[in-house]
C-alpha cells in the first residue's frame, strides 16, 4: 500500500490552535483523523486530542494488519472517543464538557471508508472532479438539504459533536473503491468557510499535494483575515508514483505487526520526570527504528 500524505495546521488569528490531526498505519491499513476542538466550551484542544488518541489506540488494536469491519471500527472508535471526553470532564469535575468535531477515514484493500460528526469535512477528488464530500451536521447544511433558504442561518451552529451530553450523531460512508491518483482531503471549517468546494477540487487536481495543501491553507488564512479561524488540512493521494519523496509513505517499509503513528500520546501526561531505565531504552529503540525506516525509504 502506498500513499502520499501532507498535513498542515495553522493557528490563524486565534489565541490558540484547537485543531488536531494525525495519521497512523500498519502494513496494510491507514487511518487519518482530524478533530476541531470547539470554542464556547472548555478545553476544546483537549477534546480534539483525546479523540485522536482514542482513534489511534483503537486502530493500533484493530488493524492486524487490516481492520476488516471498517464501518464497525469507525463507529465504535467514535463512541469510545466520545466517552473518553465525558470521562475526562467527569474526573476533573468540570461543569461543562469539552467538545470536538471529528472526521476520520480508513484506507485498506483499495477501499476508503469514513466517518464524521459535526462540520469537519472529507473531500474525495478524482481526476479533478469532486466525487463526494461529507454533509455537515449543522443547521445550515440541513436546511440547504431540505431545499430551504439558508440566508439568515449562523453556519457555526452544529446539532451534534463529540463530548456533549447528548449522544453523538454521525455518518459512516463508503466503501468507495480507490483509483490511482485519487485524493482525499480532511479539513476543519477554517478551510471550507472561505475556500469554495470547486477551488479545493481544482487545487488538488492541478498540483501535487505538497503544493496544493499549503496553497489552500494560505488562501484560507488570507481570506480569513486577522480573526481567521484555525485552519487544518490533512490530505492524501492514493498509490502515488515515486516523484514526491518527502510526503510519500509506503507501508511496506514497516515490518509485520508494527504500527506507526503521528498521533502523539502525552495528554493527560502523567509526568515528564518518569523517565525510568525502561523508558530510556524504549526511546532509544524507537529512535533507532525511525532512523532505519528513514534510511530505507531513501535507499
Amino acid at each position: 500500500m502506498k500513499f502520499s500524505v501532507y498535513q498542515i495546521s495553522r493557528q490563524g488569528g486565534r489565541e490558540r490552535n484547537e485543531d488536531r490531526m494525525g495519521y497512523a498505519y500498519t502494513r496494510e491499513s491507514g487511518l487519518f483523523v482530524l478533530a476541531d476542538g470547539m470554542g464556547g466550551h472548555p478545553e476544546g484542544a483537549m477534546a480534539a486530542q483525546l479523540a485522536l488518541q482514542t482513534f489511534s489506540a483503537y486502530f493500533q488494536k484493530a488493524a492486524s494488519p487490516t481492520v476488516r469491519e471498517v464501518p464497525d471500527f469507525l463507529s465504535s472508535a467514535l463512541m469510545a472517543a466520545h466517552h473518553q471526553i465525558i470521562r475526562y470532564a467527569a474526573e476533573k469535575g468540570m461543569l461543562d464538557t469539552p467538545r470536538t468535531t471529528l472526521v476520520a477515514a480508513v484506507m485498506e484493500r483499495n477501499h476508503v471508508h469514513w466517518i464524521h460528526c459535526g462540520d469537519s469535512r472529507l473531500y474525495l477528488v478524482r481526476e479533478g472532479e469532486l466525487l463526494t464530500r461529507t454533509r455537515d451536521h449543522s443547521y445550515i447544511e440541513q436546511q440547504a438539504h431540505l431545499g430551504r433558504s439558508t440566508e439568515h442561518i449562523n453556519r457555526n451552529i452544529l446539532f451534534t459533536c463529540l463530548g456533549s451530553p447528548a449522544k453523538p450523531v454521525y455518518d459512516v460512508s463508503g466503501p468507495v473503491q480507490l483509483q490511482q491518483g485519487d485524493r482525499v482531503l480532511l479539513c476543519s471549517d477554517g478551510l471550507w468557510s472561505t475556500v469554495k468546494d470547486f477551488e479545493i477540487a481544482d487545487q488538488l487536481a492541478r498540483h501535487p499535494l505538497e503544493h496544493a495543501v499549503p496553497e489552500l491553507v494560505e488562501m484560507a488564512l488570507k481570506r480569513g483575515g486577522p480573526r481567521c479561524d484555525n485552519v487544518t488540512v490533512l490530505a492524501m493521494e492514493w498509490e502515488t508514483p515515486d516523484e514526491f519523496q518527502t510526503t510519500r509513505v509506503s507501508t511496506e517499509d514497516i515490518e509485520e505487526g508494527v504500527f506507526a503513528s503521528t498521533i502523539q500520546s502525552g495528554v493527560p501526561d502523567p509526568s515528564v520526570e518518569d523517565l525510568d531505565d525502561e523508558a530510556i531504552e524504549r526511546s532509544i529503540a524507537e529512535i533507532n527504528e525511525a532512523i532505519r525506516r528513514t534510511a530505507e525509504k531513501n535507499a
Binding site: A45, E218, L275, I284, E286, I287, I291, T294
Partner: protein, 335 residues
C-alpha cells in the same frame, strides 16, 4: 566562571563501537566529538552532558549528577530524545542527519554525519574583511537561503522548530551544500501548548517572542532568524537584538544603507521576515520561499541626498555607541 565544565572524553576512548578522535565543540547541552566507526568512517557524536547539571572529572567516563538535579537532568534527556526522534524522521540534504543513538556511560549519545566545511559565520567574517560593497552577491544569497529553507520546511513539517538559527548553525560543506545543524534548542512544540522549557537564545537572531515568556512561538520564530541571517549576509554584521529594536527600531534605516546594492525586493523580504509582530511575518516557510524565489526583474532605489546625510549622521552616533559598548563588554568578561 563559577563552575568547571565537565571534562570531555579523552581521544581514543571507544564508545558504542566508535573511537573518539577529538572534541569538536562543547555547549550547554553537551559535548560534540569527531569519531570514527569500525570501518574508519568519520562521524560526529553528541554526548548528552548538560554542564549545569552534570560534572565529570578529567579522565573519567561516568558523569556525576547531584541527586537534587536528577529530575532536571532527566527532563533534559527527554528533549535530547525529542531532538533525536525528530531528526531520525528527517532525511534531507539540508538537515544534519542522525545515524545512530545509543546509551553508554550512564548517558546517551547521538551519532550524526560528520560534515567537512565551515559555518556561514566563518564565511561572513572572511567576506566582510575584504571590505567590498557587498558581503555576498544577491544571487548567492538567494540560492543559499533557498537551500536552507528547503531543509527548514521539512523540519517544520515534522512539528519541530529549530529556535536557534544563526550563521554559526548554517554549515556550508566542502561540496557546497548548506546544512542546518545544532538542533539542541529545538523542541517539538508545534503540537503542544505551553509547559516546555524555553530555550536559550542568540541576541540579534532571536525573535522578540523568544524573550517574552508568555507568548507562543511558531514557524514565524524561525523565519525571524532567517531574516536576521539574510541581513547578516548582506551587512556582514548581525542586526540589533529584539529588545533594542522594541525600544528604538533602526532596522529600516540600517537596511536603507543597502539600497542600490541589493534589490528592493530582497531588502523588503528581510524587513518582512524581521517584523516585530509575529503575525506580520511570513507565516510559513512556504510563503517565504515563494517570495524569495520570485525572479522578477530586480529594481534598485537609490538614496536621496537627504537620506544619505541622515545616514552619515547616524554612522557617527552609532560608532560612538559601539566603542562605548565594547569597553563595557571587555570590562565584564572576566568577572
Amino acid at each position: 566562571m563559577s563552575k568547571v565544565k565537565p571534562a570531555p572524553l579523552p581521544p581514543d576512548t571507544v564508545i558504542g563501537g566508535y573511537r573518539i578522535v577529538k572534541k569538536l565543540a562543547a555547549g550547554g547541552f553537551g559535548v560534540v566529538y569527531l569519531a570514527v566507526d569500525t570501518e574508519g568512517q568519520q562521524v560526529a557524536i553528541k554526548e548528552y552532558l548538560p554542564s549545569s547539571l552534570a560534572s565529570r572529572g578529567p579522565g573519567e567516563l561516568l558523569p556525576q549528577v547531584q541527586p537534587e538535579k536528577l529530575s532536571l537532568y532527566r527532563l533534559g534527556l527527554k528533549s535530547f530524545f525529542e531532538e533525536g526522534r525528530a531528526l531520525a524522521q528527517i532525511s534531507h540534504q539540508s538537515v544534519v542527519s542522525v545515524l545512530n543513538f545509543f546509551r553508554e556511560n550512564e548517558t546517551v549519545y547521538m551519532v550524526m554525519n560528520y560534515l567537512e566545511g565551515a559555518s556561514l559565520q566563518e564565511f561572513i567574517i572572511t567576506a566582510r574583511e575584504l571590505k567590498k560593497q557587498k558581503v555576498f552577491r544577491e544571487s548567492t544569497i538567494r540560492s543559499l537561503y533557498d537551500e536552507v529553507l528547503r531543509g527548514l520546511r521539512i523540519v517544520h513539517q515534522h512539528k519541530m522548530l529549530h529556535l536557534d538559527i544563526k550563521p554559526a548553525n548554517i554549515f556550508i560543506t566542502d561540496d557546497n551544500r548548506a546544512v542546518l545543524i545544532d538542533f539542541g534548542a529545538a523542541r517539538e512544540v508545534l503540537s503542544k501548548e505551553g509547559n516546555f522549557i524555553r530555550p536559550m537564545y542568540t541576541p540579534g537572531f532571536a525573535a522578540p517572542e523568544m524573550y517574552r515568556r508568555d507568548s507562543s512561538m511558531g514557524p514565524w520564530t524561525d523565519i525571524y532568524a532567517i531574516g536576521a541571517c539574510i541581513y547578516a549576509s548582506m551587512q556582514g554584521y548581525p542586526p540589533n537584538d529584539a529588545p533594542q529594536r522594541l525600544e528604538k527600531d533602526r532596522l529600516s534605516l540600517a537596511l536603507s544603507r543597502l539600497r542600490g546594492v541589493y534589490s528592493d525586493n530582497l531588502i523588503e523580504v528581510v524587513e518582512w521576515c524581521m517584523s516585530l509582530d509575529p503575525l506580520s511575518r511570513p507565516q510559513s516557510v512556504f510563503a517565504l520561499q515563494k517570495e524569495l524565489s520570485r525572479e522578477t526583474e530586480r529594481s534598485y532605489t537609490k538614496l536621496t541626498v537627504a537620506e544619505k546625510m541622515r545616514l552619515q549622521f547616524d554612522n557617527i552616533v552609532s560608532d560612538n555607541k559601539r566603542s562605548a559598548r565594547k569597553t563595557t563588554a571587555a570590562g565584564t568578561r572576566f568577572k
